[in-house]
C-alpha cells in the first residue's frame, strides 16, 4: 500500500484522532497495523571489558542460522573508541551454548589493522571469515565509500574520524550473507550507510585452518551487542561509550535497494539524510527476525525473543540515530 500523504485534503500529520480516538491509541485500521514510529533512544555501551557487557543468553528457538542460510545484520553505530583501542571490538555476535566455537558468527572491527570482519564457525578449524579494510584505495572501495580516508593508520575508524554519518552522527552498517557455506567474496556484501563497501579481501574466505563450518540448527543461541557473545570479555571500547541503535537481524540476504531502504536517505555517496524508519513496516518486514530499538529504556527485541541484559555502565541513551 502506498504511503498516504493527505486524507480528504488535510495533511496526515495534522490528524491526531480517528472517530474521536487518539491515533496513538489505535492498533490498526481495517486490519492494517498502524505504524507510529519514533526514535528517541539508543544503547550506550560502556567501555569496561566484561563488566559492561550487553547480551541475551540462550534464546531458545530464535536466530538459529547455519552456514547454508542467508542472513543479514544491520545496525546504526556512533563510535566512541580512539586509536589507542589497538585491538578488536565485537559489534554484533551470536553463538550456541557450547562456547566460542559453537555455531558462532560475529561482526567485529579490528582497530589495529583497520578491518571490518564478518565470520562464522563451528570449530577452531571449521571456520570462514572475510574482511574489508578501510584504507583500501580506489573508487568504490572501502576508503572512499566510508569517507574514512585511506591514510593508514591515521584514518582508521574512530570517534575523531567517523567517516560518513547521518545528521545525528550515526553510521548504518549492514552485512549481508548469501547461501554459500563459506565467507567468500561473492557470498558477502558490506554496506556503509547505503553504499557498498567494495570487495571483501579474500576471494574464497580465510585460508588457514578454514574448513567448511557445520553449525547446528537446533542449538539455542546467545546474542550480543558491543561485545562477544560467549564470555562477554575482550575490548568493548575505550574513550567514550559507543552507541548502537536499531539493531536488526534478517533471515535473508538483503539487496542493495533494501539496504538503501533501511538507510532512508538519498543514497548518494556522503549524503547525511539517512535516518531510521520502522523496519516492521519495511518492504522486508517478513524477514525481520530480531529488532532491538532501545526505546523507553527497553531491552526487548521488538521482533524475536532475545531480551538483552545491560551490565555495568551500559545503558540506554537519549542520543539516537
Amino acid at each position: 500500500m502506498a504511503n498516504t500523504g493527505r486524507i480528504i485534503g488535510s495533511l496526515t500529520t495534522a490528524i491526531s484522532k480517528v472517530s474521536g480516538t487518539a491515533i496513538s491509541g489505535l492498533a490498526n485500521i481495517m486490519g492494517k497495523v498502524i505504524s507510529l514510529f519514533s526514535n528517541t533512544q539508543s544503547l550506550s555501551h560502556g567501555i569496561a571489558n566484561g563488566t559492561d557487557a550487553v547480551y541475551a543468553s540462550s534464546t531458545a528457538s530464535d536466530f538459529q542460522v547455519i552456514q547454508s542460510d542467508a542472513w543479514s545484520i544491520s545496525f546504526w553505530i556512533k563510535v566512541g573508541w580512539t586509536s589507542s583501542l589497538n585491538g578488536s571490538i565485537h559489534l554484533i555476535a551470536s553463538n550456541g551454548p557450547g562456547g566460542v566455537h559453537d555455531s558462532m558468527w560475529r561482526v567485529f572491527y579490528n582497530e589495529s589493522n583497520n578491518r571490518l570482519y564478518f565470520g562464522f564457525r563451528s570449530g577452531s578449524t571449521y571456520k570462514s571469515n572475510n574482511f574489508w579494510y578501510f584504507h583500501h584505495t580506489g573508487a568504490g572501495e572501502a576508503g572512499a565509500q566510508s569517507g574514512l580516508g585511506t591514510s593508514y593508520p591515521s584514518d582508521n575508524w574512530m570517534a575523531s574520524n567517523p567517516g560518513y554519518v547521518n545528521a545525528d552522527g550515526f553510521t548504518l552498517i549492514t552485512i549481508t550473507k548469501g547461501t554459500a557455506t563459506k565467507a567468500t567474496r561473492a557470498n558477502l556484501t558490506a554496506y556503509w550507510n547505503g553504499q557498498n563497501l567494495g570487495d571483501a579481501y579474500w576471494v574464497n574466505g580465510c585460508t588457514n585452518n578454514c574448513n567448511t563450518p557445520a553449525m547446528t540448527a537446533s542449538d539455542a543461541r546467545n546474542f550480543a551487542i558491543g561485545n562477544n557473545s560467549w564470555n562477554y570479555s575482550g575490548p568493548q571500547g575505550n574513550g567514550s561509550p559507543t552507541l548502537y541503535d536499531e539493531v536488526a537481524f534478517w533471515d535473508k540476504e538483503l539487496s542493495a535497494a533494501e539496504v538503501l531502504e533501511i538507510w532512508g536517505g538519498a543514497g548518494t555517496l556522503g549524503e547525511t539524510t539517512g535516518a531510521p524508519s520502522n523496519l516492521q513496516t519495511s518492504s522486508m518486514a517478513a524477514n525481520l527476525i530480531g529488532y532491538w530499538r532501545f526505546e523507553t529504556n527497553g531491552t526487548v527485541s521488538t521482533v524475536g525473543s532475545a531480551t538483552l541484559t545491560l551490565d555495568g555502565n551500559s545503558t540506554t541513551s537519549t542520543t539516537h540515530a
Binding site: S84, V100, Y152, N208
Partner: protein, 83 residues
C-alpha cells in the same frame, strides 16, 4: 605453526623475515610486538606455547599492552595492506 607465540622488541621484530609471521600486534607504545610465527624464531623477549598463555601474560601487563581478546591470533598479518 602452533606454539610459535612470541614477544619481540620492535627493533628486533623489524629484522625478521615477514614471511615467517602469521599474525602480529604492537603494544601501546609500539616498542614491543607479540606475534604468531609460522616456524620457530630466535631473538625474542618472551616465548609462549599457546595463544592462551600469551594473552594471559599480556593481560597481566596491561600498563604496556592493550586487551586483545580471544582469537586475536587468527587475524592474519598481510604486509601489503598492514605496513
Amino acid at each position: 605453526m602452533d606454539g610459535n607465540y612470541y614477544i619481540f622488541t620492535t627493533t628486533v621484530y623489524d629484522t625478521i623475515d615477514k614471511n615467517k609471521i602469521f599474525s602480529r600486534f604492537y603494544d601501546l607504545t609500539k616498542s614491543n610486538v607479540t606475534l604468531l610465527a609460522t616456524e620457530p624464531l630466535t631473538g625474542f623477549s618472551n616465548e609462549f606455547s599457546s595463544d592462551t598463555e600469551t594473552l594471559t601474560y599480556i593481560h597481566n601487563n596491561q600498563s604496556s599492552w592493550p586487551e586483545f581478546g580471544e582469537l586475536v591470533f587468527e587475524i592474519e598479518y598481510i604486509p601489503a595492506i598492514d605496513d
